[in-house]
Amino acid sequence: MSGFEELVVAFGFPFMRRAAAAGTLIAIMCALLGVFVVQRRLSFLGDGLAHAAFGGMGIGAFVIVSTGLLAQGGALLRNPLWVAVPFALLTGLGIAWVRDRTELSSDTAIGVFFAVSVALGVLFFSRIHPDTNIGVNVMDLLFGSILAVRNTELLIIGGVALVAIAFLWVRWGALAYATFDDELARTDGVRSRLLEYQLFGLAAVVITVSATVVGIILMAAYLVIPAAAARLWARSMASMTAFALCIGTSTTLLGVAGSYLFDLPTGSAIILTQALVFVLAAFTQRR
C-alpha cells in the first residue's frame, strides 16, 4: 500500500479526523494570535499561559474529585477545563495588569505567574489519590495527545475558535495599529489598554483549551513558530498573518499525517515540521 493510500485509510478513522480538525482549529487560532504575540515581543506568554493551564487543570481536577462531580456530574462538569479556563483567564488578565500598572517587564510578570501556576498544579494534583481516574493524564497534559481528542473537547475547541476568530477578525486593524505604535493608535481613538487586556484574556482561553490537546510543553511553539517564520517572509502585517495561517494549518496536517506514516509522536511531528519551515524561512527570508 502506498503512503497516499495509507493516509486515505488513516483519515477514515474518526480519531484521525478529530485530530486533524482539532489541530487545524488550534493552528488557526494560534496563527492569528501569534502574529501579535511575536510582534509585541511576548513569545514567553505562550509558555506562561500554558503553565497557567496546568495550574488550572490541577485545581479543576481537585475540585471535581473533592465535590463528587467526578461520580455524579455530566461530561462537561467532569472536565477540569471549566475551572482551568477561568483560572487561566484570571492569570492572563493578571499578567496584563502587572504590565499595565507596574514597571515590571512582560517576561518578569509572566515568569511570576508561570511559577505560581506550576506550583498550584503540582500541589492540587498531589492531593488527588493516585488510583483516582480523573480522565486527565498528567503526562498527556504536559506532552499532548492530539490523537485522543474526544468529541466534547472538539466541541469546546470549536466554540472557542469561533469566538477567537470573530474577535480577531473584527479587532485586527486596531490590534495591528496598537502593536505598531500604541501612542499613535490612541490618538486615533484606539483603546489600546482595553485591547491589550482583551488580547491577554483571549490568549489565556485559547492557550488553555489548546494546551490540553497539544500539550503544555509544546503549546508555545504553536503560538510562536508559524508567526516567526511568517515574519521572515512578510512585508506587511496582513501578509504575515496570511503566511502564519498557511504555515500553521499545513504543518499541522503534515505533522498528523507524518506521525501516522512514520509512527512518531504527533505533537513532536507537528512542531518539528513547523521548525523545518522556520529554517527554510530563515534561509529564504525577504530583506
Binding site: 490590534l175 505604535d181 499613535l184 515574519r231 512585508r235
Partner: protein, 259 residues
C-alpha cells in the same frame, strides 16, 4: 428691544488652562496656560525634561492632567480626531513591524491599520506622499527607510486627512540638516496652502526663531509665550534653561524671523 448681538470670540485652536501633571513625585507640568489661535506656527521649546512632549500628549488626550484641562478647537482631542494630524517622535514605533510606507499613510485616512488598503485609499496615500516629495517611498518597507524618509512618511500620514492642526513632537530629531530644512519647507507650504495651525516641540531654538510665529518657553511652567523675538531673549532663556551658554539664539537670519 433686543440687545445688539456681540461677535463671539473665535475659539482658540489650542486651549491649555492651568494644566498640572505629576508623575509620582515629579511635577512635570505646573499651572501651564496658553491659547493658540488659528493660522499660527507655535514652537514649544525648553530643556530636557521640561514637559514639552507631555504638554503635546495632554493636548492630544493621551495624558489626563491632575489639574486644569486642554482643548483643541474647543473640544476634547478625541472628539475631533479628523482635524488633527500628529507626527510623533520617530523612536516610538516598532521598527520590526512589517509595514510599507503607503500602509502607514493609510492609517491617517482610516484611523486603523489596513489589512488591504482600497484603491481609493492607496491613491490618496500616494498623493499625500507626493505632497511631501516622497511618492517614490510608497511601496518601501518602513524598517529600511532613513530618518529623513520616515519623517516625510509620517508627515504625509498627518497631512493625508487634511487636518486643521498639525502637532509635531521633535520631528527633526535624528535627521540631517537637509532633511530638517525640507521639513520646515513642507510645513510652511502646508500652512500657505491650507491656513492650518502648527504646534511643534523642538530643541532647535534657531529653528523656533526663524520658522515659528509664536514660541512657548517651557520648563515645567511657562517662562514665556509670544513672538519669537520677545520670548527668545537671553534673559528669558537664562531663566528657563538655568544658563544659556551655547544655546544662544542668533538674532539675525538671512531671511529674518516670521511674524
Amino acid at each position: 428691544m433686543s440687545m445688539p448681538a456681540r461677535a463671539a470670540a473665535p475659539v482658540p485652536v489650542v486651549h491649555v488652562h492651568h494644566v498640572g501633571v505629576r508623575f509620582g513625585d515629579a511635577q512635570v507640568l505646573d499651572d501651564v496656560s496658553f491659547d493658540l489661535d488659528a493660522g499660527h506656527f507655535l514652537a514649544i521649546v525648553g530643556p530636557n525634561g521640561a514637559g514639552k512632549s507631555t504638554l503635546i500628549k495632554v493636548a492630544l488626550g493621551l495624558i489626563t492632567p491632575q489639574r486644569g484641562h486642554a482643548a483643541l478647537f474647543g473640544r476634547d482631542a478625541g472628539d475631533v480626531p479628523d482635524q488633527i494630524g500628529y507626527v510623533p517622535q520617530l523612536k516610538t514605533f516598532d521598527r520590526t513591524f512589517p509595514a510599507t510606507a503607503v500602509e502607514l499613510v493609510v492609517t491617517g485616512l482610516r484611523r486603523s491599520w489596513p489589512a488591504r488598503p482600497t484603491r481609493q485609499e492607496r491613491e490618496r496615500a500616494v498623493e499625500a506622499l507626493a505632497q511631501v516629495g516622497a511618492e517614490g517611498l510608497a511601496g518601501r518597507v518602513l524598517a529600511r527607510l532613513s530618518g529623513g524618509e520616515l519623517q516625510r512618511v509620517y508627515l504625509a500620514r498627518a497631512l493625508a486627512r487634511e487636518p486643521a492642526l498639525v502637532l509635531l513632537d521633535e520631528p527633526a530629531t535624528g535627521v540631517d540638516y537637509l532633511a530638517e530644512h525640507d521639513l520646515y519647507d513642507l510645513l510652511e507650504r502646508y500652512q500657505a496652502r491650507s491656513g492650518g495651525t502648527i504646534a511643534m516641540v523642538t530643541h532647535d531654538l534657531a529653528a523656533a526663531r526663524y520658522h515659528a510665529s509664536r514660541v512657548l518657553v517651557l520648563n515645567r511652567r511657562v517662562f514665556g509665550f509670544g513672538l519669537p523675538a520677545d520670548v527668545l531673549c537671553d534673559a528669558c532663556l537664562q531663566e528657563a534653561y538655568g544658563h544659556v551658554g551655547h544655546t544662544h539664539v542668533p538674532h539675525t537670519h538671512a531671511h529674518g524671523a516670521r511674524r
